[in-house]
Amino acid sequence: MTTRFSTSSAIPVKLSLLSAGIFLGLFFLVPLLLVLAISLASRGTYGGIAWIATWENYQRLLDPLVGTIFLRSILFAGLTTLVCAAVGFPLAYCMARVSRKWQFILLTLVMIPFWTNFLVRTYAWVLIFRADGILNTLLIKLGLQEEPLPLLFTDVSVFVGLVYGYLPFMVLPLVVAIERISPQLEEAAFDLYASLGAMFRHVLLPLSKPGFIAGGVLVFIPSLGAFITPYLLGGGQKMMLGTLIQQEFLVSRDWPFGSALSFGLMGTVLLLWFLLGRTSYGRDSS
């Protein structure tokens, strides 16, 4: 990183850098600090904030009730990530190994469902899972079921919704990572009489690790704080972290506690981020 661009002395660059700095400082750092401050305050009688310092909100985080919600959300997010990885890998592999032209087409095809509204896409799953929905109607018509399966508003439906929503985030980094692996390595493995499974385990997987990690992060973090998907597909049954935070702000109007929860969420995420940073990244690869 020796000879670098000397354009930074150009005025517009300096100006944008400065403005960006001010903007982010004002609308990102300051709000965060504010939330931190509020998380140390108390709740007013009818909601709102009473500026009385207290640790109570953070103490409540240690409450088994909250702990359960944290764990459950982490579990869900983790499971979602794993399934996304499992489902995404084959797809990414195909996309990476195909000609340029097809690659572009496939990539676009993957992105297009994204252009429809996230809410509507998730809602479509409600239509599929309902007792009178597509899936059940099909199953009954084919004679596989007598009664409709209760699919909606279960852990399963939320799970499917999450996987569906975040799959592209896993696929794209994987494609980038797999592309970097020279196909000759795979051929070499075969030349050395490796079985398909062995080649997979010892060559493909380890080399795709950066892709998995990037994709994993991109899936895990939003899943952890998700509240739309559990709301639409979960029927208000299971309290997850995102749902709880939203409820604290908009229903119970306990802003200090909601803030403490949000910080707890962020803390978890940052912890993960650091841990991952240690294991692989660190360099300028992206």
């Binding site: 661009f5 297009i112 809410l119 239509l127 739309i228």
Partner: protein, 245 residues
């Protein structure tokens, strides 16, 4: 693949279904498309969303490109920390972003509305732009710039005639992605929107709660078609420009 498309296809299919509530097929009809055209609130929301997306992406681009270039070059700045602050808005759960912005607006008594939504969107669009542009910037060969300088170009010239054009794909990528993300954003918008500044995702959410009318199905079908057309056009465009270069 099929998995990805299933819900979309179902939505499109249902948009022609005559039934109001259920999924059972009750006859082919275009009435939902008609209602869509005539429903002012949905159209309003769509326009709002597009405008907000354009403005926030545009501003993020302007600030972001310069920031990316500036960051790549600067010495003496504590890079790891700056990097982290840059990326943080993207990593943090949206709900925290939304809530924190709301708190700031409320305590400073800033009325919620268009402006606050745009600010909210910029908070994640800006880092997005910076990250994307920087990634591309790193791959650029400094030789181009050096050559230009040797030929006597000023900083401004180097910037506009060499760097920016070389960054073109990244800038388009950032613009496209930023626009998409802004258009689709729900969580942050949910918290910072004001009366009358409903965006499409917010509108859809309230419609879902009351029992989604198939108008939304029709709208989704339209959106899918529009995006396919857009992508098709940009692909054609790219084909031509690769011929040029």
């Amino acid at each position: 693949m099929l998995f990805l498309y299933l819900p979309v296809l179902i939505l499109i299919g249902l948009s022609f279904n005559a039934s109001t509530m259920g999924v059972a097929w009750k006859g082919f009809t275009l009435q939902w498309y008609e209602k869509l055209m005539m429903d002012p609130s949905i159209l309003d929301a769509t326009v709002n969303s597009v405008v907000i997306a354009l403005v926030s992406t545009g501003l993020a681009l302007i600030l972001g490109v310069g920031t990316a270039i500036g960051l790549e070059k600067s010495q003496g700045v504590p890079m790891p920390w700056v990097n982290m602050v840059m990326v943080l808005p993207l990593v943090i759960p949206e709900i925290l972003l939304g809530v924190s912005l709301l708190m700031v607006f409320v305590l400073c008594q800033i009325p919620l509305g268009f402006g606050t939504i745009i600010i909210g969107h910029m908070v994640f669009n800006l880092p997005l732009t910076v990250v994307i542009v920087r990634a591309r910037l790193r791959k650029l060969d400094p030789a181009w710039e050096d050559a230009a300088r040797d030929l006597g170009a000023t900083s401004w010239d180097v910037l506009t005639r060499i760097t920016l054009p070389l960054l073109r794909p990244a800038i388009w990528g950032a613009a496209l992605l930023g626009f998409t993300v802004s258009l689709d954003d729900f969580v942050v918008t949910f918290f910072v929107a004001g009366p009358g500044s409903t965006t499409l995702p917010l509108k859809v959410f309230s419609m879902i709660k009351t029992g989604i009318t198939p108008e939304i199905n029709a709208l989704s079908a339209v959106m899918v078609v529009v995006s396919m057309v857009c992508v098709g056009l940009s692909w054609l465009f790219q084909q031509r420009s690769t011929l040029d270069s």
